[in-house]
Symmetry: C2
């Protein structure tokens, strides 16, 4: 049974079955020309969308359907995390190849619905279309934040310290593991591939960084750490020196890269898909920052400092300072 | 020069150049992890998204780039029109094949930006990705409406009359014309193909129908008139009898179908892409309705009535009543 055997109405019903009951502020949910919702009082709205395409962002050969749904939503939620916003609602636009099994469709929705429920995000509408091309999930999310607590890219000043949440490079290592062992056995349970398949958007840390005003600038790491550093530097009009030896790279990930002759630091700098947060903070707010990090449930590591020239460098013991290469780009 | 020769930043800049200056309520626009906007007071929010795929919704062989952009946005705005909402903001998610010429990219954005500006819709963000598949425009729009003025699908009662805006069948005829003459000369200026290429979302009529509370139910005709009648009937729990002889079909369109041996009424019933509105209204509100229609700038035609059994029929002089076939569906 594939999605082409069902009507659009039947497919929509299969999505709806897996979603939590909508709250009172959803006046009209799935099933009309559009959704109608009551805005939240005393908050500004944060809006973002992110697309996840088969063959570009994931490979069905080694990405379980639940992970396809989870990752697509995580990417969108990570943008909200980087703004310090609380997720509120989402619209799902799905382009489905005719040969997609219904069971896979349901499992994609499961991955997505479970993550949505965990963050109290309500899917209020969307769009379904059959595509001759790759399976595509395009997710728009709306979150809310108090006006003065939104975290922007611009705002870092020379002297601010740069921090990253969690650890970096794990998703890149995990993706390579999956590519090398795409068979049913796959990599061992709990390995770095789980970081690629089921990334956790750092919503709680983002929220606390905004609420405590501990951060002066913030972005997420969707296109890698190096790219994220460049984005804060360019938006804020500062330079940066990253201490390559201080990057939080899990021991297993470091070892895995080393046994393949890859420099773990370079791999962690340019690898995408980590969905951690990079943020800048004033040194004198370090206490506030530590409290925010503690309650955010994920460690933060100091990895560098903002400077007043515009160079963006990486510094490592035994190496001369080197300009930081940019990360992955979809175009040139 | 194709889009693959430019960086993502350069492409975003090319989009931004064509957009109107954002208003004050856009606190953070294009260029951060997400947009930040101030919600409108005393309004509820209407959200919808719609995808437009090459090979499914349009064919680059006979759809000029400006029309690709225009049609994609018109489809999304039509959903807002059907809810009685005023457009406010949009997010553009574009998946671009590497061989898309930059000039075509710019012209797609032009088509979209011109329609957006006409309706004071502000593009506040989006996403760009390179795709191995079809060119895809996925547009999410947010509009606003006073809570009691939102037009839903459910609400029609037996005895309510059914109306359609403008005329039907023109886009279907226009699409066939383009398919038959995809060469540079194309069909004559101002013909029905313009209705396929540059549909006008009926925003003003939708707004007035909601504001005057003249309509009891409303949907748009994205998947054809027959499908729209079914949607109102099912959501409202009523049946319907459509007077096939009363459909507003332009003389040129009628003639064009007839010379090809096609029944114009059947073609107008099932053809998609018209983006007109179908709505129900109480007979005693006919005066109010006519005023709304007059100020909406597009004629409305009475085409049927809601009934208290659940059958959905089409009635024509010289024919027995026939059940109304459903329209186009992307799946089964």
């Amino acid at each position: 049974l594939t999605v082409a055997d069902l009507t659009e109405t039947e497919l929509i019903e299969r999505v709806r079955r897996q979603l939590a009951t909508p709250p009172d502020w959803v006046l009209v949910g799935i099933g009309d020309d559009a959704a109608v919702v009551e805005p939240e009082r005393n908050r500004v709205e944060v809006l973002t969308c992110d697309a996840s395409l088969e063959g570009v962002h994931f490979d069905r050969a080694f990405t379980p359907p639940e992970a396809i749904g989870h990752r697509a939503l995580a990417a969108t939620l990570s943008d909200l995390a980087a703004m310090g916003a609380v997720p509120r609602l989402a619209l799902l636009s799905l382009a489905l190849p005719a040969d997609l099994p219904c069971d896979d469709f349901d499992r994609i929705v499961t991955g997505l619905a479970v993550l949505a429920a965990r963050h109290r995000l309500h899917v209020v509408g969307g769009n379904l279309v059959r595509t001759p091309g790759p399976l595509t999930l395009d997710i728009t999310a709306l979150g809310t934040v108090k006006r003065r607590q939104a975290l922007l890219r611009a705002g870092a000043r020379p002297g601010d310290e740069l921090y990253v949440t969690g650890s970096v490079g794990a998703a890149a290592a995990g993706l390579q593991m999956l590519r090398e062992a795409p068979d049913a056995s796959g990599p061992p349970d709990g390995g770095p591939h789980m970081r690629y398949l089921y990334p956790e958007p750092r919503l709680r840390t983002g929220l606390l960084l905004g609420r405590t005003r501990a951060a002066t600038a913030c972005v997420d790491l969707s296109d890698g750490l190096a790219d994220a550093v460049w984005r804060i530097a360019e938006a804020s009009g500062v330079g940066a020196v990253i201490d390559g030896d201080s990057l939080p790279i899990d021991a297993a990930v470091r070892e895995w890269f080393e046994t393949r002759g890859t420099d773990p630091v370079a791999a962690a700098m340019t690898g995408g898909d980590d969905y951690e947060l990079l943020f800048a903070a004033r040194p004198r707010l370090r206490g506030r920052l530590k409290a925010a990090a503690r309650h955010g449930g994920v460690p933060v590591a100091r990895i560098g400092v903002c400077t007043d020239d515009r160079a963006v460098l990486v510094r490592r013991a035994g190496h001369p300072d080197a300009p930081l290469a940019r990360g992955y780009t979809h175009f040139r």
